[in-house]
Symmetry: C2
Subunit: 404 residues, 2 copies
Amino acid sequence: MFKINEHYLKLPGSYLFSTIGKKVAAYTAANPDRSIIRLGIGDVTQPLAPAIIESLHSAVDEMAHRETFHGYAPDLGYEFLRSAMAKHDYQARGCDISADEVFISDGAKCDSGNIQEIFSTENRIAVCDPVYPVYVDTNVMAGRTGTYDPDRGIWSNVIYMPCTAETDFAPELPKERPDLIYLCFPNNPTGSTITKPRLQEWVDYANREGAVIIYDAAYEAYISEEDVPHTIYECEGARACAIELRSFSKNAGFTGVRLGAVIIPKELKCGDVTLHSLWARRHGTKYNGAPYIVQRAGEAVYSEAGKAQLAEQIAYYMNNARVILEGLNNAGYSVSGGINAPYIWLKTPKNMTSWEFFDYLLEKAGVVGTPGSGFGPSGEGYFRLTAFGSYENTVAAIERIRKI
Amino acid sequence: MFKINEHYLKLPGSYLFSTIGKKVAAYTAANPDRSIIRLGIGDVTQPLAPAIIESLHSAVDEMAHRETFHGYAPDLGYEFLRSAMAKHDYQARGCDISADEVFISDGAKCDSGNIQEIFSTENRIAVCDPVYPVYVDTNVMAGRTGTYDPDRGIWSNVIYMPCTAETDFAPELPKERPDLIYLCFPNNPTGSTITKPRLQEWVDYANREGAVIIYDAAYEAYISEEDVPHTIYECEGARACAIELRSFSKNAGFTGVRLGAVIIPKELKCGDVTLHSLWARRHGTKYNGAPYIVQRAGEAVYSEAGKAQLAEQIAYYMNNARVILEGLNNAGYSVSGGINAPYIWLKTPKNMTSWEFFDYLLEKAGVVGTPGSGFGPSGEGYFRLTAFGSYENTVAAIERIRKI
């Protein structure tokens, strides 16, 4: 008789955003006349920029003719996109990343879930707490996390790095030695950032201890302050210890278009084996490339028109962030984030738990946010709002919250 | 110090089609004036059908406006596509598959590589020999296959089911008991098929022995004979033992568009746990949906116009198959396949090994095929040609082969 992967059964409940979706659907079914404003899941709402639309149409037309039709994409992705990323995201910032160190994918969620596969199941992971649930859940599925303590909401074999008001929402170097360190800056869910000198400490630590940093830079485009690094490769020595994940979801509104990339410098090795060669083997064996038309859309992100249009789009969302931040501040909430990130992180009032505040906000204000405890035990008592709504909805949501 | 997944290092050489790509690139670089005809990798060459192009353009336009913009897709895929598949691919054939048993993905390669994850690493797999390399390679990566014997080209913990001229290119029920059985009909690489009574024997065997059949139906659209099943759910009891993989790559030319689906009936269980729930959890945690525009393109495959246009496209490729089959027959080759599948499987002449014949064909005729041994030890001495070229190239390739 066949057996299942028992590790799956250890996962408590369903994936966070699926749970929220179901709760909201149930509420909507019971209250069909109630208007709901969703500032929960980090999904964009602005349409694709004109330069991207134009590029998509043009690529679709190419697919209509035998002479310009594109079948299977090259293993690592099309050279035009890998070169554009290497040039604009790295070389333009003085970082030594070449096009053949870029692996194009269909998004950072898949990449951040799949990357653990090339590592031993004996490796121990360290994560910020709270954190994007995919990092931990995919390691649970792989059997790397030990047993779950439902009372404390933690796994026995995971190193948690609390990021709370006490630590200024930044992780401190762990006391126990990890093999894989997941970092995400600007941070999801807290919206906090890290300065370049602080990130350099992490790179030095990883090189000293023989750990790999998996650096999720999905929110890089929202950085507004000078001393915040846009990529981990701004730090010296990062080529020897860091993998970077990039996404087009938030900088270009590709949540429904699907495009991302993994950067693996060829210096990153375990003995003689480059992690680049392992990921290349995974890519070649288990993946068949992002759609040609989507890779062309990605290229348009780096065009002059694309860059200008997307800067406007980000400014639009960051104006929402300002509205939320100021509105909640004025309403007496304790808030952070929202300066270099589209996320606002708030302390729940009156010692409510995160899920109590979720229900309270949904019922009293018709506003959907994300319970901080869904991101880890140190997220308990916190709540995430996103700036990805429309301006009108954001203003209305804050008005409703202020009234309750 | 972090460790890598050591199973990756057991994999001999690179992924088959990457190796072929590199060999052809080297040959082309050395012989820039030589014209090469590629009948190797199973990549389509005809442009997307007009109904699909129209649907893509229209979906792109939707993404350009806030009112019709689509962000993250639903976990399982859009209902419009899941319903279309359930209706046209299953219910229309009298098979009891509902829309919520369909999981939309970005292609059958990813699905056939990822599906093993929900099973225990202790499970033992059985594969046809020769076989699509992804089934075995992804189980190697997961540590399920034991050790590799380079002389015999086999893994110690894999059950091989030889499909050679002696077995009429069909597998026989294995003597040892497997937990997971990979079947692919119409077959890649041999182009062979299975009748419904024979497939029923496999379903009965799996139900009796407590095994799961992973049924790859990627080439279903090429079936021309009456008694060949289009889906495993035509067999009684398949809902309790079979997962089916579907692809849009070959029936609609989506190799560069990327769309597929996994079908998991809710009756398929290990104890109380449905495999449906495990795959749903994986989908929700590690995947973020196929692009909206691509799912709309998939919907167009089932429109009246789409169906008519794609029937023509398949007839075009199957005419190529006829050209290859007849041409090689006339040239004295021993050939099979090509009737219900776009693949033609031939015995190499003069006892050449598969790779010797690959080099011979490339050098003497400038024709690229796929060495049978790349698909498994029983593929040694065989060679695969595909019908996916243009008619002109196919005729020219056969002419060149006949001359040498």
